[in-house]
């Protein structure tokens, strides 16, 4: 799991989706793993420009991610570097790529977040422990919880 890809179909034209992704007003309304508020959103969507978003989660913890726009092709493609701020949860720099494709109903959005893990984690994954981990987890979940409810846990800092 060194990368994550999600695909969404949105009933809006690509230019509107692109602006929602790149304007501070848009970002402030959708960014974050729960319904906690975005505290600061800055974007400069041109190659070499930077973004910075700070948000507070419902548990009160605050997180900030920032990065640089590596490719900006409105309304179809966006690529940026990504880094969590804060020593406790910084797993290094990752890469975010978003493609927007016009379809009959609006836009098909494909988001790929890659290079997610540090070297050690990546190596560990390549040696195939993820399955073992998932199995062990199921073992502990059986009985007191139903299904993989651990998915509801958002990012958090536990320094």
């Amino acid at each position: 799991m060194t990368s994550l890809t999600l695909v969404r179909r949105i009933k809006a034209r690509p230019s509107i989706v692109f602006d929602a992704l790149t304007t501070p007003e848009g970002v402030a309304l959708w960014w974050g793993p729960d319904d906690g508020p975005v505290l600061a959103a800055e974007t400069d969507p041109r190659v070499g420009g930077r973004f910075r978003v700070r948000f507070r989660m419902l548990d009160g913890s605050e997180h900030e991610s920032s990065g640089e726009y590596l490719e900006v092709a409105r309304p179809e493609r966006l690529r940026m570097s990504w880094r969590w701020k804060g020593d406790a949860e910084d797993p290094g720099e990752s890469l975010l790529e978003i493609r927007l494709r016009a379809i009959a109903e609006g836009t098909e959005l494909t988001l790929t977040h890659s290079r997610l893990h540090d070297e050690e984690t990546r190596r560990s994954h390549e040696r195939g422990w993820t399955g073992a981990l998932a199995k062990l987890e199921r073992h502990f979940l059986s009985g007191d919880r139903t299904g993989p409810s651990a998915t509801s846990h958002p990012p958090r800092s536990q320094a």
Binding site: M1, L4, R8, G26, L29, D87, L111, S124, W129, F140
Partner: protein, 117 residues
Amino acid sequence: MVNYNERLSRTFAALVDPTRRAILAQLEREGGASVSALAQPFAIKLPAVMKHLDVLDHAGLIRRSKAGRTVTVKLRPEPIREAMDWLRRYEHFWSKSLDRLTVYAERKEAEARNRKP
């Protein structure tokens, strides 16, 4: 206090080794085992098994308890949950974010259409 990232690194590092994963799998199947029972399936000597157990213990993945001359080993679930949560956090982040992005963009699209006669 060991910080979050350090705990994760220890968990992942502990899981890299196939013998240690086999030990964990055995503990998962059996609920707990003595050190000698754990050493049995492997073609390695007891001291080597003890070293693996030290790594697992250091990562918080197991707990050892001694009763008389028998040391019993059990799994500890917390680091595993924590590691899985960490792996899923990006998926969770983007899934929730894209849900809201969709709502926002679709509202903007409706507004744009309504502005036109």
